[in-house]
């Protein structure tokens, strides 16, 4: 039995690839999140003063709910988005009305606010229904810790109880605590559970503001960048494929440099080059009077998208050039000689000989490139960070966010409220699309056939 040759590999694959994939599917149907992370919320710990049958008296009733966050429900930091990010201090929140420390600057059309609760370490986005000076009316109330009625809790020995009545300092349980169990303290347990299709419904309800624009830009970006890189790569490779060209190997070696540098570094350096006021790119463009005024590369959506395509051309051209050169080297020289003897111009021999023969080789290259760029998190996250925010968008799906960075924002950043479940739901959408692209790629390259035959 040769299984032991394969077994170690399979064990790791099962544990760290297939299991997470399955888990992602499960988590997509839960409300697993930063505030519901399956951990004890230590900051809500309060002492138990007395236990009398089902009645548990706690020292600090308020400690378990909103009224006694470190500074009460006041001192919430709010980020108000209009066309740019403003940081405004909010003084208090009550009954759906947020009171700001100062009115918003004139002419700001705030569309969305984000409440950040430092004590809970989570944020919450909602729409703004109305602004009246310092008063900001929200469309829905932020999920401050709930009152405890109906909350089940678990004790150290694993026995579960439910709070049937929350009477301030006195909690009424459904049954008495077990004999000999000495309750000393109580804390909120941030439980999470199965919520069915709710995450997907959330995505669909807000689709117009997040899913649709993000998806459209994701596809546009992947197609456009492959198109641009392919055209440029083919052009350069055809020039370099000329056997009479001296120094062609030197040129190849020189032009390959962006590939030889780690993109995790170069992308971040490009961020500096694209700085509006001091970046090298704007200085060059201004020096030669290419643009009448400096371009706000990272601050306006159109320019940020252009910047992404430009930087990805710089990053991806060496690979494309090398790939096309590899494909070109498979075309027999005699064909060109024959074309020349027939009196073809270089342009004619390109369209008559090179292009048709190149096409079959280019399909897998472009498909692989598409699949790679479709999920090119590094580029988007490190260059524009998904920004800038757009009017009418959400805090997690901004001007240049692609699906994977949107999922990341939902799951791992305060704007998204660490909504792991929602992030997983978006990941599943990405899975489906990537599988589709890969299947097409497999069909074209015959990789599956290769698996079956050998």
């Amino acid at each position: 039995m040769p299984w032991y040759y394969v077994l170690p590999a399979i064990v790791f694959l099962l544990t760290f690839t297939f299991f997470p994939v399955g888990l992602t599917i499960y988590l997509a149907f839960t409300d697993y999140a930063g505030i519901r992370n399956g951990q004890l919320n230590v900051s809500t710990t309060t002492d138990v003063v007395a236990v009398d049958g089902t009645r548990v008296t706690i020292a600090d009733a308020a400690n378990l709910n909103c009224a006694d966050l470190r500074n009460g429900c006041t001192d919430v930091r709010a980020e108000v988005y209009s066309f740019e990010l403003l940081l405004v201090d909010a003084l208090a929140y009550e009954d759906g009305v947020l009171t700001l420390a100062a009115p918003l600057p004139r002419g700001r059309e705030a569309r969305e606010t984000e409440l950040f609760l430092p004590d809970l370490g989570f944020a919450f986005s909602t729409e703004i229904a109305e602004i009246d000076g310092e008063r900001v009316v929200l469309t829905r109330a932020p999920p401050f810790p709930p009152q405890l009625e109906g909350v089940a809790f678990q004790m150290a020995d694993g026995v579960a109880r439910t709070i049937v009545r929350d009477d301030g300092a006195v909690l009424e349980l459904n049954e008495p605590l077990p004999e000999g169990f000495e309750a000393t303290a109580i804390a909120r347990y941030n439980d999470y559970g199965f919520i069915g299709w709710r995450n997907f419904r959330t995505i669909l309800v807000a689709a117009e503001r997040s899913l649709v624009p993000v998806f459209v830009w994701n596809i546009t970006f992947a197609v456009a960048t492959i198109l641009i890189n392919t055209v440029a790569g083919v052009f350069l490779a055809v020039l370099l494929n000329n056997p009479d060209l001296k120094f062609r190997n030197l040129y190849r070696t020189l032009l390959i440099i962006p590939w030889a540098l780690p993109n995790i570094i170069t992308i971040q350096v490009w961020r500096g080059f694209l700085n509006e006021n001091f970046g090298a790119i704007n200085r060059v463009l201004m020096l030669f009077d290419v643009t009448p005024e400096p371009i706000n590369w990272l601050g306006t959506v159109g320019a940020a998208k252009a910047a992404i395509l430009i930087v990805n051309l710089w990053l991806g051209l060496p690979f494309m050039m090398t790939a096309v050169l590899g494909a070109l080297s498979a075309i027999p020289r005699e064909l060109y000689e024959a074309a020349k003897i027939d009196g073809a111009t270089p342009l004619q021999s390109f369209w008559g000989v090179t292009a048709p023969l190149l096409r079959t080789a280019m399909i897998p290259i472009t498909l692989t490139g598409f699949a790679f760029n479709f999920n090119n998190f590094n580029l988007i996250f490190l260059l524009t960070d998904g920004g800038p925010p757009i009017a009418g968008g959400t805090a997690t799906a901004r001007g240049t966010d692609i699906l994977i960075s949107w999922a990341y924002n939902e799951a791992f950043r305060s704007q998204g409220g660490f909504a792991y479940g929602l992030g997983s739901a978006i990941s599943i959408l990405i899975f489906v699309i990537t599988v589709a692209v890969s299947l097409v790629n497999f069909r074209v390259t015959g990789a599956l056939k290769e698996v079956r035959n050998t």
Partner: protein, 442 residues
């Protein structure tokens, strides 16, 4: 065949004179620069520069044509095309290298800020801030990012071995080219020196610890290194993670690739299919689940956790590539060994492994380079500053007030790029040709 035309020499000279005179006249008559929005602007400068560039292309192409007429008339058109091609490619090279050269010169510049006033002296490019002022050349940025790095005595020894071995490899190969040394001796030297480089680098990476990064305050007490001055630690962390992931993947994937290539067994098709699919998907798609898993295993913020998170994709990819390679190796050798009484494992261990070493090195390098540039999993799973990777360390510069740390960022970026740059150009042919082939084949 047309006859060479001596008059073409005259035409060539005329065209050259005309175009270069024209280009020079264009550039010499640039409009005076003005200041707009704190930028130096040469009004319509693009028209002059493009004009001069295309004039030069046209001029060189036309004079090459006449050169051809004067020497080999049939080739005149080809000459013109070739000359134009060269000039165009040089244009692309300048555009490609501008960011690289600019970054290098910023890292060797005294000014740490992008926002400083533009110099009034120097040539146009310097005054416009298109290049850093050469008058401010300095190594202060490197000193700054390295000042809290405390390398121990024996580690300096390892660094010395590393550098000497690198120089020696270049020297050996250079000498061999001049003196016709037999190839096998050059290879033997290269292999020995390569091992010296690998081992000294590996020991260096393992032996450097976060405790070696500290500053000393006025009272003579040690203070923890500040986050922008620990780039060496971040490089070390990244090398450690990438190296271990690469070694691990090769170790686990070798036997699997061998089994897929040489054996028929139940479930082979299904397993292979799953390998193909896994290596197509970036591991970070199951990011949340991996995060959850690492929380449960108590491996959050550890290199072990990160390496395990990388392992699935790395193993599938390596096994798939190795299987492809073995299928191109004739099974005759092993079969004859097995006829002579070797076991399956013996044949694998004694016959297949030795001949596969270059391929395994290649798989290791691919994995290593790929892992070096991974960001999202590292950023999610690693939290403490002492565990940051290069990408996270640099991001620390760009997410804060960027313009205040530009010089230090550039120096860190250069230092962080060196390992991959050296590896890439050392193995350029293998990495470029095989990557494309691998990408196409899946």
């Amino acid at each position: 065949m047309k006859r060479p035309d001596p008059r073409a020499w005259l035409w060539m000279a005329l065209v050259l004179l005309g175009t270069f005179g024209g280009a020079w006249a264009l550039l010499a008559n640039l409009p005076a620069e003005t200041v707009r929005d704190r930028f130096i602007v040469v009004p319509n400068g693009w028209a002059y520069v493009f004009g001069a560039f295309f004039l030069a292309i046209a001029g060189i192409a036309v004079s090459a044509y006449f050169y051809g007429r004067a020497t080999r008339p049939g080739k005149a058109g080809a000459y013109a095309l070739t000359a134009g091609t060269h000039l165009f490619i040089w244009g692309v090279i300048v555009a490609t290298f501008y960011p690289v050269v600019y970054l290098l010169s910023v890292s060797f510049n005294r000014n740490d800020t992008l926002a400083g006033a533009l110099p009034r002296e120097g040539d146009l490019f310097v005054r416009a801030g298109v290049f850093p002022n050469p008058a401010d050349v300095s190594t202060i940025q490197y000193q700054k990012v390295l000042e809290q790095t405390n390398i121990l005595g024996y580690q300096w020894g390892l660094v010395a071995v590393l550098l000497v071995a690198m120089v020696a490899i270049v020297a050996v190969r250079g000498v061999a080219r001049w003196w016709h040394v037999p190839a096998h001796r050059v290879d033997a030297w290269t292999r020995t020196l390569g091992w010296a480089i690998f081992l000294s680098a590996a020991i260096l990476v393992v032996s450097i610890t976060p405790e070696q990064f500290y500053g000393v305050n006025a009272a003579g007490e040690r203070t923890p290194a500040s986050s922008e001055k620990a780039i060496v630690l971040y490089i070390r962390n990244t090398l450690l993670v990438s190296g271990t992931t690469g070694l691990f993947a090769v170790l686990i994937a070798t036997t699997a690739g061998y089994a897929f290539a040489r054996m028929k067994f139940e479930g082979r098709y299904g397993t292979l299919l799953s390998f193909v699919f896994v290596q197509m998907f970036p591991g970070f798609m199951a990011l949340v689940a991996i995060y959850w898993l690492m929380v449960q295993l108590d491996l959050l913020n550890t290199f072990t956790g990160l390496i395990l998170a990388y392992s699935g994709g790395a193993i599938a990819f390596s096994a798939w590539i190795f299987k492809g390679y073995l299928e191109s190796v004739s099974p005759a050798l092993e079969e004859s060994a097995m006829v002579d009484g070797a076991t399956r494992w013996g044949a694998f261990y004694r016959i297949i492994l030795p001949v596969s070493i270059p391929m395994l090195l290649f798989i290791f390098l691919l994995q290593f380079i790929g892992t070096y540039s991974e960001f999202i999993l590292a950023n999610t799973l690693l939290q403490g500053q002492e565990n940051w990777t290069v990408g996270m360390g640099l991001r620390n510069f760009t997410t804060g007030r960027f313009d205040t740390q530009w010089g230090a960022l550039a120096a860190s970026a250069v230092l962080g790029s060196i390992p991959i740059l050296l590896i890439f150009y050392s193995f350029q042919d293998a990495l470029t040709s095989q990557t494309t082939a691998g990408g196409v084949k899946g």
